[in-house]
């Protein structure tokens, strides 16, 4: 059981029967008055954010979450199949559950799956992934559009802005937290 003074950014707690993560935390205390704990929290199941103000006598159950390392096997018809590395148990998640993370999943990738009461609700990817560019317009020398990036498509179907010198067949590194291009990968 947590009390309000345990609240901090990153803490995962139960609220209204749903697991939440605290994304912004601020302690406030008007002069001579009681302490208030202002939180922005994200529902870990549906991703919705909410703002709540708690008092020092409020209590919270820790969210019963656990994380397990798993391997991404393959996707088919909008379903994503994962396997537990030790028990070999398999599970399926949908594109909706994965959100933007689906853009960076490659077969055999090691990920961490977050469970709430034995139900998978989210995954954590490696921070950087290397993906092959499958479609890119050639860089037209003398392009006067003034743009210093161009869109390319990578092997997962994700479209990302890259510098103009990136070509089809090259491998690029992407930050999975922001979805942005980092660098070209030389092999």
């Amino acid at each position: 059981m947590y009390s309000a003074s345990d609240l901090r950014k990153g803490l995962k707690v139960m609220m209204d029967s749903n697991p939440y993560i605290i994304t912004v935390f601020d302690f406030s205390k008007p002069g001579k008055g009681q302490a208030l704990y202002k939180c922005k929290m994200r529902n870990l199941i549906n991703g919705n954010s909410t703002e709540r103000t708690f008092r020092s006598n409020d209590k919270f159950e820790p969210a019963p979450l656990d994380e397990r390392p798993m391997q991404f096997l393959y996707s088919q018809g909008g379903e994503y199949h994962f396997m537990d590395n030790t028990s070999y148990d398999q599970l399926v998640m949908t594109k909706e559950q994965l959100g933007d993370n689906a853009n960076f999943l490659l077969d055999n990738m090691e990920v961490s799956v977050l469970f709430f009461r034995e139900r998978p609700i989210d995954i954590t990817l490696p921070i950087f992934v290397n993906l092959v560019v499958t479609t890119a317009e050639p860089w037209a020398k003398g392009d006067t559009s003034g743009s210093d990036t161009k869109p390319v498509t990578v092997e997962t179907g994700y479209v990302v802005q890259v510098p103009p010198f990136i070509e089809e067949g090259q491998k690029i590194q992407i930050d999975t937290r922001t979805g942005e291009y980092i660098t070209r990968v030389k092999e």
Partner: protein, 301 residues
Amino acid sequence: MISPQMLAKRAAILRAVRSFFEERGYLEVVTPLRLPVLAPEFWIVPEASGPLFLQTSPELCMKRLLAAGHERIFQICPCFRKGERGRLHLPEFQMLEWYQAGASYLELMEECEELLWEVAELSGLAGLPERSGNGMSLEPPWERLTVAEAFARYAGMSPEDALAAGMFEEILVNRVEPHLGLAQPTFLCDYPAELASLARVKPGVAGVAERFELYVNGVELANGFSELTDPVEQRRRFERERGLIINAGRDPGPMPEAFLRELAGLQSAAGIALGVDRLVMLLAGAVELDEVISFVPEELQ
């Protein structure tokens, strides 16, 4: 760790504060930090120090000096409050308190205006007015708004209704404070009497105390009031606070008997407490207290 520039700004502000009070005939005083007896205040939890407590404010000792005949005194000292940590809170912080015999909260509001105006000028720092970009000015006189006016204007309700609903602090913090002290500092004044256990009740206005809070850019910077000098009434209020503390399962410590005894010798007076770390933050253009103190608590482990 604090930047060398910020450490220098902090020193310049403290020099300017001392020079302001010296020019006005105030005596700088020092009172003990470890005390056997504190003013019982339900929402302020003291830190124990052996068999004693670390002071949560120098208020009782300074009023005893006032009662002994010192008419203008100020102090810059550390205060300790358990469990207070946030962007605007530290469990150990620096307080500036000053007291003036014969004055009411109205005169102290004026003196507070002059203090900030002069300290900004003397220290050459006006970080907040420069950064805010909305033409904010510290030039006196500042806005004065009663708690009733502010609650009506920004929350559409009376402070009495907010208190009755047990939502006074939430409404103040979430709906009123963000509007206060934006174009110029705001004095929020005339608090419900039950929120001012050491302040005098406003003559002719039932249930309202002569207490004010100064807000600059939505941040509470100082709290002042016309002092309650009636020892019988003060004892009654302390007993009420002690009852609340006992009901919550905490130890209120002994009744401040020496203070109550000497309070009888105090004529009228007013006092104000101002958070020095917050003052430095505002004048130096910082956004949180962590930027303006030598070490944050977490750095000391």
